[in-house]
Subunit: 300 residues, 2 copies
């Protein structure tokens, strides 16, 4: 796949899916719902103060009588209620509305009605880079500060699930470091070597991992050949797995600000995909993120 | 300054500078010398096997009788001899030829004839990003694996010196992290806060430092305003100071491979600028790096 518009097109074919919105009483959130309904992406259950939702919907011209929209008045705990709906399989995807990320994730991790799967949660971003010929995943750019090796395994598994949703059955994963050789003084290279070998021993499945790879080796066949790197991943990476949040965050934002990228992102690792769009996201990006959740939700 | 061609133009005005080349017996290196002489950038002393230099020069059509070129036959220790020439002020800049980086830096650090200044050496890169309105420095993307706080101070000082050579008297330095708030669980944010305050207390001079800043806050005024960040640096960063080599290396290469950037780079921290071009660098990039060394050498 080359563009996020193709992803959206694929998401439209996933009919009948329902998104549970944790506090929809917010004009930005309702605009995203409006765009998604207009594009016939999915259906929504909107939790939150019904009067507020109605007032704000009237303002932006969102027709709440659409058969794609159900409003459920919930003033006291819209996050918990939205999570419960997914827990009870009344909805397929959880979407953050006008609640804090912290409050939403607390509900997700609730032991009774949450969406725990025994795995860590991680951030999975999918980028359309203008000068690249395929979409590329980056993980984890937002949630896990300094993941241990075993957490990196889960982060990769979480991303592989999403990549499979996009149609990449055996994604190629680059375990990123600053160099392509193992150096015991550089933990990123040590972890990368272990992740590579764990995949060879079937401790990690459904993907091909190679590392350590530096960014250029990961994304450019020429750069990899220049360094004489023999690899099934180098230059063809589907998933860039970063060693630390600092690397992930900086790369994410350099793609957006310097490379004019477009992005879709979800949180993976719970029992359903979670969409955490923020005000800073463009309207298009919000739909791309919803699309990424829609195409991958059956893998959960 | 907006382009590296402007930098090259400025470098041409720095007349009379001499570059000492550690083993010029290499076609790629001689091509760079040829380009620089053709563009009237500087003069060269070429150390290395004279017969090889002559044969290779004849092949590529480089005229060694130019008054900009001096060939000094040196078969046994071209790295040490080239370093000594800079040590003795016979040359202003050291340039890596056909020797390993390790061998060159070993000679640079030699206690008798080296270029030691008591500071650590660090890599300083200057990028022209197509969608940005100014050149932006990135440091350290290549030399120091996991710098301590005091090493980060030296890395910043080393970059400030180069920025001043480019004409930025008080460069704005973003101490990069994944977030813009101080979090004791994230060492990058802790160091960034300390660096910021050290600059306020004049422990670091000739620049304005602010951090922690995430990449978007560092380079985009809109992103900084969106987060309500009040800062003299945010959105106007001249120097991105990264927390680890993994961040620097990944950013460097994402700029090159995804953002179609152009780059100039030098090693700073010795008693003269060092140019470490590699085969993978384009011909233009080699001249940009030489230009960066030329404009900043008087600051050393």
């Amino acid at each position: 796949m080359k563009t996020l518009n193709e992803l959206k097109k694929n998401a439209k074919e996933e009919t009948g899916q329902i998104v549970s919105v944790a506090n929809a009483a917010d004009a930005e959130v309702l605009k995203a719902v409006q765009d998604a309904v207009n594009e016939d992406l999915c259906s929504f259950i909107l939790y939150g103060d019904e009067n507020n939702i109605k007032t704000l919907s009237a303002k932006i011209g969102l027709d709440l009588s659409s058969d794609k929209i159900t409003v459920v008045s919930e003033e006291t705990d819209p996050a918990g209620t939205a999570v419960k709906a997914v827990h009870k399989k009344e909805a397929d995807i959880l979407m953050k509305g006008n609640v804090s990320t912290k409050a939403l994730l607390k509900a997700v991790l609730n032991k009774e009605y949450g969406l725990r799967s025994g795995k860590i949660l991680s951030h999975v971003a999918l980028f359309e880079i203008p000068n690249q010929d395929r979409l590329i995943f980056l993980t984890d750019a937002g949630m896990n500060i300094s993941p241990t090796l075993m957490e990196k395994v889960e982060i990769i598994n979480n991303a592989v699930k999403i990549a499979q949703g996009v149609g990449i059955e055996q994604p190629k994963v680059a375990a990123l470091a600053a160099v392509e050789v193992v150096n015991p003084a550089m933990q990123a290279t040590v972890d990368a070597a272990m992740l590579t070998q764990m995949q060879k021993r079937n401790q990690i499945r459904n993907c091909v991992i190679d590392g350590p790879l530096a960014f250029d080796n990961a994304v450019s066949i020429q750069a990899a050949e220049h360094k004489n790197i023999k690899s099934d991943v180098a230059g063809m990476t589907d998933i860039i797995a970063v060693p630390t949040i600092e690397v992930g965050n900086a790369l994410y934002k350099s793609f957006m600000y310097f490379a004019d990228a477009k992005v879709a992102a979800v949180v993976s690792g719970a029992s359903a995909p979670i969409v955490l769009t923020s005000r800073a996201d463009s309207a298009a990006s919000k739909l791309y993120s919803l699309s990424l959740a829609l195409v991958s939700s059956k893998k959960f």
